[in-house]
């Protein structure tokens, strides 16, 4: 199976970089327990100290990485990939030590999602250059990313920020001079909605298939018992064999269910998240614009002050005013340039995103079918 890499993609395929997230292990006990994953890297990139190495990371480390990257790069208009969500319910089950299928599934889901997350991060040329990413992959011991804890001070701060962001989004009405952004945002939002729907439906499919598995298993047992009590030996044998066949079918269905589940459904969830990241990107742009506008209006006000002062003839205050004006003029130009830069980056990013989408979407289809 071959697929062409689109030419727009920066050629980091000159060098090799393979990352795998494996071996989830539970460390500790009770409510303080956590899962640790082995992150193994194989690479020919010169910026790394060696060719193959692995480290142990826990989930909050991944979140910490996202935080750092987001702080540094989101404001430049890059699409920073989002990590998988925290799940209090899922983790509690694992912590409490329930060794049932739902908690193993949860861990497996998470492991796969973390792997995909890292893949996305390193396939972004600019993010790969970031020292934090390198550190994440290489360094043996990372300082605990405390700010990712939900119940910490930093956590609360974040929640408040998120809330105020949401309010801001509603109140900022940007004069869209460039239709391209408007269109793209609309597309992205539509697509996200559709994917969410698809994800829900696939989820239902997976659940029904699991249902079918359970029922088939139960039926197989019942058939076996019926075969036992059948007095015609040939029929008895036939019935027992039917029971066996049904059993095998159940296993097959089970397999298919988990395939459907992991490949299809999870990928969809991933995409929804990714689109969220794209939207963040757009939001950043709007914020930048806002900053620019604010700076402009402040400048305007300063100019008015200057005019008034000129009129009132207060020379020393005037100088101060003039200084402030210069300062603000500089800021305005800076912000304007920032905004333009972010526009360009967002454009490039979205283009890249679309191509990645094409490429990545092909893969699960083919896999899911076989």
């Amino acid at each position: 199976m071959s697929f062409e890499k689109p030419e727009e993609e920066e050629s980091n395929d000159k060098f090799e970089l393979n990352i795998a997230v494996t071996h989830p292990e539970k460390v500790g006990d009770g409510m303080n327990a956590y899962m640790v994953y082995k992150v193994s890297t194989q690479t020919t990139l010169p910026m790394f100290k060696s060719r193959a190495f692995s480290v142990r990371r826990r989930f909050s480390d991944f979140l910490g990485l996202f935080e750092k990257l987001s702080e540094k790069h989101a404001q430049n208009g890059y699409i920073v990939p989002l990590p998988p969500e925290k799940s209090v319910v899922g983790m509690t089950k694992v912590k409490v030590g329930k060794e049932d299928t739902s908690s193993t599934e949860f861990v497996e889901k998470r492991r796969a999602a973390l792997e995909r997350y890292l893949h996305r991060v390193v396939s972004h040329q600019n993010l790969l250059q970031d020292p934090d990413v390198r550190e994440f992959l290489e360094k043996d011991e990372l300082p605990r990313a405390v700010s990712t804890q939900t119940l910490s001070g930093a956590g609360f701060l974040k929640m408040i920020n998120k809330a105020s962001d949401a309010v801001n989004k509603m109140t900022i009405k940007m004069n869209e001079s460039d239709n391209w952004f408007e269109e793209k945002l609309q597309e992205v939002e539509n697509e996200e909605q559709q994917l969410r729907k698809l994800h829900a439906v696939v989820d239902a499919l997976v659940n029904h298939r699991k249902d079918l598995c359970g029922n088939t298993a139960v039926f197989a047992k019942s058939m076996a018992m019926l075969g036992n009590s059948e007095d015609n030996t040939a029929l008895s044998r036939a019935l027992s064999q039917l029971a066996e066949v049904e059993d095998k079918m159940e296993q097959l269905h089970q397999e298919q269910a988990s395939n459907d589940f992991f490949i299809f459904a999870e990928l969809l969830a991933d995409y929804v998240r990714l689109l969220g990241g794209v939207r963040n990107c757009f939001d950043q742009r709007i914020k930048t614009w806002q900053r620019w506008q604010d700076a402009q209006s402040t400048l305007q006000k300063k100019r008015e002050v200057e005019a008034k002062l000129l009129w009132a003839n207060k020379p020393d205050k005037l100088q101060q005013a003039k200084d402030e004006i210069t300062e603000w003029e500089a800021k305005v130009t800076q912000y304007e340039r920032d905004f333009e830069r972010i526009c360009a980056t967002v454009r490039k990013e979205v283009l890249r995103f679309e191509l990645i989408k094409y490429w990545e979407a092909f893969l699960p289809e083919a896999k899911a079918i076989s």
Binding site: F219, S222, L226, S229, K357
Partner: protein, 398 residues
């Protein structure tokens, strides 16, 4: 008015065999009409027997008429030694009706295409239930007509021929018997059968076998029903997936669009196959189990009647002994005892015959259905595989 294709009918009839081999009395249900809750069957008879007024005739009958016929046969003393074919179950459109209701509620959330497809599915399901109920009613009559003794029953002939409403007769019958016998059977059944001391090895074996088998087969039937229903759910889900993929691809205009289209197409085709698998399984396996659960019950009923006759016989023996001791009413007691003995022996003899032929019939029917089901499943599996492979090919070449 839904009609039933001949092909489908022959397929459905395979649940029970040895029917309609005797050309002197041929019965079928060529037509049925569904009004609200009631189903009206058209019972068509072709006969060479002189006891009937015409060589060919049809009458309209309701489900309740079938039940009446069955009950009168059960309560006829003469047939106590025979396995009376089980009564057909009441037509049950509850499940598709409920689903149709839910579909109507959820209409707003689906695309037009999706809705039409789901509606089609439901209509097909409705039709399937309908066909099934026609079939069980038909089989009931055909078993009666092919039974050497039961086919000559006067009530049966009335059922076939009487061209006016049977509801008057039904009411009379109910008043006469008041369903008393049936209730008695249900409660005393198990206890009596297992309690009576068995003198005959054959019946001893049959008893143990039937009691055990009956519970097991009841269990299997419920489990099979659940399984086929789950299967149907999976098939339905495919419709939703296909629909959403369609709407996504409608808005997409990159190369991805073609992939999505193919993908959605594949789901569409797959679901048809899955749907067929589910319904075939339903028909061959679940229906088979359901039917024989009822049949086994009928066989148990026979055992019950015989056990009761045995109990009567033993009681009459005791009474005779007592009478002889007291030298009072001896003749009467002797008479009674002789009657009981005759009844018991007649029951045992015909019972043995019936149960043996029942066993043979059951094995043949199971074999036929299981073979057919296996063949169908293989066919569907092959279909799915070729479908999926074709899809992979087209996606690769895209």
């Amino acid at each position: 008015m839904p009609t039933i294709s001949q092909e489908y009918k022959t397929a459905l009839r395979s649940v029970s065999v040895d029917l309609n081999n005797d050309v002197s009395l041929l019965i079928d249900i060529p037509d049925a009409l569904c009004e609200r809750d009631k189903v009206k069957f058209t019972v068509h008879t072709k006969t060479t027997l002189s006891v009937f007024q015409k060589p060919e005739f049809s009458v309209p009958r309701q489900h309740e008429d079938f039940i009446w016929l069955h009950d009168t046969l059960v309560e006829t003393e003469e047939y106590a030694g025979l396995i009376i074919p089980p009564a057909p179950p009441k037509p049950d459109f509850e499940s598709p009706r409920e689903k149709m209701h839910k579909l109507g509620e959820g209409e707003a959330t689906m695309t037009k295409e999706e809705y039409t497809k789901m509606k089609q599915e439901l209509e097909a399901e409705y039709l399937a239930v309908f066909k099934k109920t026609v079939q069980v009613h038909e089989v009931f009559l055909q078993r009666l007509s092919s039974h050497p003794v039961l086919s000559k029953d006067r009530n049966f002939q009335i059922f076939l021929e009487y061209d006016q409403d049977l509801s008057v007769r039904r009411k009379n019958a109910k008043e006469m018997f008041g369903g008393f016998f049936k209730n008695m059977v249900k409660s005393a059944d198990e206890v009596l059968i297992s309690g009576v001391k068995e003198v005959d090895d054959f019946f001893e074996q049959e008893k143990t076998f039937l009691l055990d088998y009956s519970t097991k087969i009841k269990d299997s039937t419920t489990k099979a029903e659940r399984m086929t229903r789950a299967h149907k759910n999976v098939a339905d889900d495919y419709i939703h997936v296909a629909a959403i993929l369609n709407s996504i691809s409608a808005e997409e205009n990159t190369a991805l669009k073609k992939h999505l289209d193919k993908f959605s197409d594949m789901f569409e085709k797959l679901r048809k196959v899955e749907g067929r698998v589910a319904s075939d399984q339903e028909l061959k396996l679940t229906e088979l189990l359901r039917y024989y659960t009822r049949d086994i019950q009928a066989a148990k009923d026979l055992l019950y009647r015989r056990a009761r006759a045995l109990a009567d016989y033993e009681n009459s023996n005791k009474a005779l002994d007592k009478a002889r001791l007291k030298s009072k009413d001896v003749a009467q007691a002797e008479d009674n005892q002789r009657q009981c003995m005759q009844k018991f022996e007649k029951l045992s003899e015909s019972g043995k015959k019936e149960l043996t032929s029942f066993k043979g019939r059951r094995v043949v029917a199971f074999r036929k259905n299981l073979v057919e089901m296996a063949e169908l499943e293989i066919k569907h599996a092959k279909n799915s595989v070729s479908l999926l492979q074709g899809c992979i090919e087209t996606l690769k070449n895209c």
